[in-house]
């Protein structure tokens, strides 16, 4: 029996296309469908050229094929506005939804921190937080697993070219969702998120700074070790994830200065912010597939 889970990608934009390219290398996930809403979209054309089934009728254009094609995983790279409906329709057919939009109707998932928990519980909708969240929450968690963190703050700096219109029109959603992720997944009692968009040319690599305030004096050796271990975990799916400086200890403040270089699949290397989202989403799907193959979870039954 083929261990690969078959997948649909909704949204043939930059994220969806990058995801498709990464997925073609995956041992666990097989891309079958690319869903768009515009017949003339470049992304749909690209997917068709790569031998993927396409529809420009939204998810409705492929729902009838879900069972026949044995689709088990969906990636939604559209917008928060349409995500809830996409998720409802596909969940009803037993498809696990991985949400790359800021809708966050399902639990947050940051692979090295809580992926196992989400897969073991067979969460039918998991949300990938935000790019800034994927890049920083592992570091907050690396500190909070050593000792209590009273406050976690992240500053994500991204190149102007890598920020799409969806993020721009609702930038508050980024700060709000990331801050809750810093709390709920990172383990900080209070979270804050800041995003800075820089238009420099050539575009700058994504930079992320994590500042945590520990409740008591930080255990420098234990935190340093934990951070280095966590960086290695993230590097398993984002090889260009790097601790540039730190951890710096200053009283109860612990700061780490990260850089995220993308793989450069479809998105340029500087767009590490987008790459870490697609890589984390794929890693999440792969974990579901691995657990299903090991019979540690049972996918929804089909007649």
């Amino acid at each position: 029996m083929n261990k690969k889970l078959k997948a649909v990608i909704i949204g043939p934009g930059n994220i969806g296309t990058d995801l498709l390219m990464k997925m073609q290398r995956s041992e666990w996930i097989e891309p079958v469908w690319m869903v768009g809403i515009d017949q003339t979209s470049e992304g749909l054309k690209r997917a068709a050229e790569m031998g993927i089934k396409t529809t420009a009728e939204g998810v409705d254009g492929m729902l009838a094929q879900v069972i026949a094609d044995d689709i088990r995983i969906a990636f939604d790279a559209t917008s928060a506005y349409v995500h809830a409906e996409n998720s409802r329709k596909l969940n009803e057919l037993g498809v696990i939804m991985i949400d790359l939009t800021p809708a966050a109707i399902g639990p947050f998932c940051v692979p090295p921190v809580n992926l196992t928990e989400q897969t073991k519980n067979l969460a039918m909708n998991v949300n990938m937080v935000t790019c800034g969240g994927q890049a920083t929450i592992p570091m907050v968690a690396a500190i909070s697993r050593v000792q209590p963190v009273a406050y976690g703050e992240i500053v994500a700096t991204v190149s102007s070219r890598s920020v799409g219109p969806g993020t721009r029109v609702n930038i508050d959603e980024f700060t709000r969702t990331t801050a809750s992720g810093v709390e709920q997944v990172g383990g900080a009692k209070k979270g804050k998120a800041i995003i800075i968009i820089n238009p420099a040319e050539p575009p700058l690599m994504m930079r992320d700074t994590v500042h945590c305030l520990t409740e008591d004096e930080p255990d420098q050796a234990a935190i340093t070790e934990s951070i280095h271990a966590m960086v290695k975990e993230v590097q398993r799916y984002v090889p260009g994830y790097q601790l540039v400086n730190g951890p710096v200890f200053d009283g109860k403040r612990v700061s780490c200065f990260m850089q995220v270089e993308g793989l450069g699949d479809f998105l340029p290397k500087y767009a590490g912010n987008l790459d870490i989202m697609t890589a984390a989403a794929l890693r999440t799907a792969e974990m579901f597939a691995e657990e299903a193959a090991n019979n540690t979870i049972t996918l929804p039954t089909r007649g």
């Binding site: 406050y151 703050e153 500053v155 700096t157 102007s160 219109p165 721009r168 029109v169 609702n170 930038i171 508050d172 980024f174 700060t175 709000r176 804050k192 800041i194 995003i195 800075i196 968009i197 820089n198 238009p199 420099a200 040319e201 700058l204 930079r207 700074t209 500042h211 305030l213 540039v244 400086n245 730190g246 710096v248 403040r253 700061s255 200065f257």
Partner: protein
């Protein structure tokens, strides 16, 4: 230059931009006293917020002595004439902060973005305008884009609902010709009912000259700060600008001697360091670096032994923009490692 008979609205920054120079530690009492002094001197508008805008309280920019809400609630009820504004940087503050400020009696909101990224301000400008606030689009680091690009971004902000657009010289880098080109194009191309404003920093000693160029080119709002209290070498010193404008026959409605007294009796005595052009603040203006980086660079110099001037020059070369304060410590660490200091 003939500015005779022109009218301008001056806007004091000492209780917002001045927060940078005070590491956001202005006391409520100091804030109320200065605001009352400005109100009595006839200052039409004053800004009260964390230096980095609503929601700026953070490790990255500094935790203030009091919250924005506490400052606003303390100051607003004392104002007889002056309107109170607040600053908001999308990406740092959110619409919740905006609503809070409105509830505190703030009647003017200034939504600030980097000069090429105006499209992140739509939700904030849209909401403020819908709530009936005086809604200002504030294009920061305006030296980093051409006048045409500034106009394009200004038009976006106007389309969201802004009734006034600022070209903001956050780095104190501009010379009068730069100001004339940007303000002039905004004034000639934006609708007549949209005001144009200029916000200067004094890092190259050009605060007054640039403000005059802005007025000549059609700006009707000018930011400054009593005694220049602000980031870098400070903002355009308002008492000086008032005296110059008075001599040139420009109407400001401000009592010159009263504002001189606020500067001398209230603001100068509370300065932690003389806000002036020194080698570091001059470097900001020379290299085109965001003015609030000054004290962070000095702190990094003390901690890591890398000169603040070297840090600022490199930050300018890298094209850093407002809000990237985290990159100062990062760069100091990298340079200290290269030099074998750590």
């Amino acid at each position: 230059m003939n500015l005779q008979g022109k009218k301008v609205t001056l806007h004091d920054m000492s209780l917002r931009d001045g927060m940078h120079a005070k590491r956001h530690q202005i006391s409520i009492e100091e804030m109320v006293n200065i605001a009352k002094g400005l109100d009595q001197a006839g200052m039409p508008m004053i800004e009260v917020t964390h230096g980095d805008g609503l929601g700026g309280a953070s490790v990255n920019y500094g935790f203030p002595a009091h919250s924005d809400e506490e400052y606003l609630k303390a100051v607003v009820p004392h104002m007889k004439h002056s309107k109170v504004s607040a600053l908001l940087l999308p990406g740092i503050g959110t619409v919740e902060h905006l609503k809070m400020a409105n509830d505190c009696g703030v009647s003017s909101i200034r939504v600030a973005t980097h000069c090429t990224e105006a499209d992140v301000s739509q939700q904030h400008i849209g909401l403020a305008s819908k709530m009936g606030m005086d809604t200002v689009g504030f294009l920061m680091m305006a030296h980093m884009a051409t006048p045409e690009k500034i106009l394009e971004q200004a038009q976006l902000m106007v389309s969201y609902g802004a009734n006034c657009i600022y070209a903001t010289d956050s780095a104190g880098y501009m010379l009068p010709d730069h100001v004339t080109a940007r303000i002039g194009l905004l004034r000639s191309e934006l609708p007549a009912n949209v005001e144009v404003g200029f916000h200067g920093h004094h890092n190259l000693g050009m605060g007054i000259a640039n403000s005059l160029a802005a007025i000549e080119a059609g700006a009707s709002r000018i930011d400054g700060s009593v005694a220049g209290l602000g980031a870098g070498a400070g903002n355009t010193p308002l008492e000086v600008l008032c005296a110059v404008l008075d001599r040139m026959g420009v109407e400001t409605g401000i009592d010159l001697f009263k504002i001189m007294d606020v500067a001398e009796d209230l603001v100068v005595p509370m300065m932690d360091h003389p806000v002036r052009v020194d080698r570091n603040s001059l470097t900001l203006g020379y290299a085109g670096v965001y003015s609030s980086f000054l004290l962070f660079a000095k702190r990094a110099e003390d901690k890591y032994g890398i000169s603040a001037r070297d840090l600022l020059v490199e930050l300018g070369r890298r094209g850093t923009v407002g809000g990237q304060e985290d990159m100062i410590e990062d760069l100091a660490l990298t340079m200290a490692k290269e030099k074998g200091l750590i």
